[in-house]
């Protein structure tokens, strides 16, 4: 990783520390600045309210020319998060072709918060969950809330 990239990550970390978006806690290992751990609170107005989700944000070597990689370490029932042990996400500005270098981690975190409030079933990584979200919202809400109780407390 270039020094420029490291400097930029440090700068963004500083910005996040001085002005942390509400509802999240960012921790960072001094030894390895390319991996951030984020503790995200389920937004009040969402089915994930009351849950605490651990996320891992990894900076690629080519950062900021390539987007950071985000994964949910806490299981979550959501159309845009892969339902496996990776918990990966790939949509919007997290896609390499849509990412632009001036985008910042804060923007990524905001996007994730927004997605918890309002999932995007048209750009889903889990088509069956997306389908349920669209066709049978009650059932979706029930499972999502159930998963919060089981995994995210």
């Amino acid at each position: 990783m270039s020094t420029g990239a490291k400097k930029r990550i440090m700068r963004e970390y500083g910005e996040c520390m001085s002005d942390t978006p509400p509802g999240m806690k960012i921790t960072f290992d001094e030894q390895n600045m390319t991996e951030w751990e984020i503790l995200l609170d389920g937004p009040e107005q969402s089915v994930y309210a009351g849950g605490h989700f651990k996320l891992k944000l990894t900076f690629p070597n080519e950062y900021p020319f390539k987007p950071p990689v985000v994964s949910f370490k806490t299981k979550i029932y959501h159309p845009n998060v892969s339902n496996d042990d990776k918990g990966s996400m790939c949509l919007g500005l997290l896609r390499p072709e849509e990412w632009k270098p001036p985008n910042k981690v804060v923007a990524v975190l905001r996007l994730i918060q927004t997605l918890l409030i309002e999932p995007n079933p048209d750009d889903a990584i889990e088509p069956s969950i997306a389908n349920e979200y669209k066709e049978n919202r009650k059932e979706f809400d029930k499972t999502a809330k159930d998963w919060v109780k089981r995994y995210a407390k």
């Binding site: 420029g4 400097k7 020319f65 072709e97 270098p101 001036p102």
Partner: protein, 462 residues
Amino acid sequence: MADWDADDERGEELNTLQSIYPEIVVDSRHSFAITLDLDVVPARPFPVTFDADPSIHHLSCLPPIHLEITLQDGYPTECPPLLKLTASWLSPSILEKLERDGIALWEASEGMLMLFGYISDLQEAAETVFGLTEPSTFSSQLRPLLLDYDAQQTRDKFNRETFECEVCLEPKKGTVCYRMKNCGHVFCVSCLQEGFNNSIKEGDIDNIKCMSMDCGKSGKKKDRILSPNELLQIPLAVDVVKRFANLKRKKRIEKDKSIVYCPRQWCQAPERSSKYPKIDDITQIEEWESEDEVEDAAPPAPDDGPKGAMNIDRLAICEGCNLAFCRLCLASWHGDRQWCQSREANELTKDDQESLNFISQNTTPCPTCSVPAIKSYGCNHMTCFQCKTHFCYLCGSWLQPGNPYQHFNEPKRRACYRRLMDLATGEDVQFGGRRGAEQQAAFWEEEAMRIQAEELDEGSER
């Protein structure tokens, strides 16, 4: 500071002027004479054209006008100031008019000091480029002067500024920044180089565009891929830009369904096309042509009938190996009058298929280098002409160079035992029955069963 006599009104006025305009130069030939260069910076970019070229250039700065002022004895009460204006790009009539304006101002001032007022008037007039029409047409001889001056001033101004690079998020001096030609976004050169070099290295040429979030987000307008010329100005290394230009060209050719590719397997280069000339000088590519044009190009009608086949221009020439071939049947060029049928690139011609059949039926590949060998006469111990490997012509196995003939003397090798001299006379070179593909398959099957049987035997002996 000149040492003017402050008791003289002229000295007092010039002293005041010099404190307002420190760039004033004192003319030593006369006791009360100064010169001053006045910048011509229009309030908004001034449109100009040059003779015989309708393209409009917008100038942010024009070369300064040079003002000489001499105050004679008797100024300001009796004598007007002597004013002389020079600027090579302004017509004498305009300069004379500006000089007359000064005299008129002196007359109106009725003996009061008026030079500061005059200079302010000139500066104000400069903001509208002295009332020249927009756009103004200049002689083409003035083209280098005006354009170079503007570019130099713009660059100097840019270099003095400080920009916040949105990629590294650091403030950078203009001297290490680059302004995008098309949209005007500014980034630091090292960020642009790092990002673009990476993308070009990975072949991701669609990413060679302005990095700003404001660019290409409108949805409608596609981001503009930068031109090689602009990449060189950033600057990116010539080799990198060449790779970029060639990748981009390749991509455009691949998108064009009307282009056929060389049928030679080892070449497969596209045909020569005037639409996509080979890139000789990357600095010449200032703008990529519109992409839509390429997408609209229709593939040639593949027509099996003789009528269609005769009607299209079938001659294509490979830009890689210069092979002349038919774009329809993909065989080497057969002339305009020959009827032919369209063929898929990976489909073999009748001739090719026959050659292949002949090779598989009538040759034995060298066990080392696989080159097909055919025997015209002689024994079945072969030496590969290419790699000198010894092998058996009948079964294709590798033979001990020291004792190649033992192979034909081992009874367990039923297919080859005592058959060293089979077909030695070369009378029957058509081996179809003996060396044909089917027989080879049968032989190997037999051999496999034999080996299996031997292994079983060995197993039971133990």
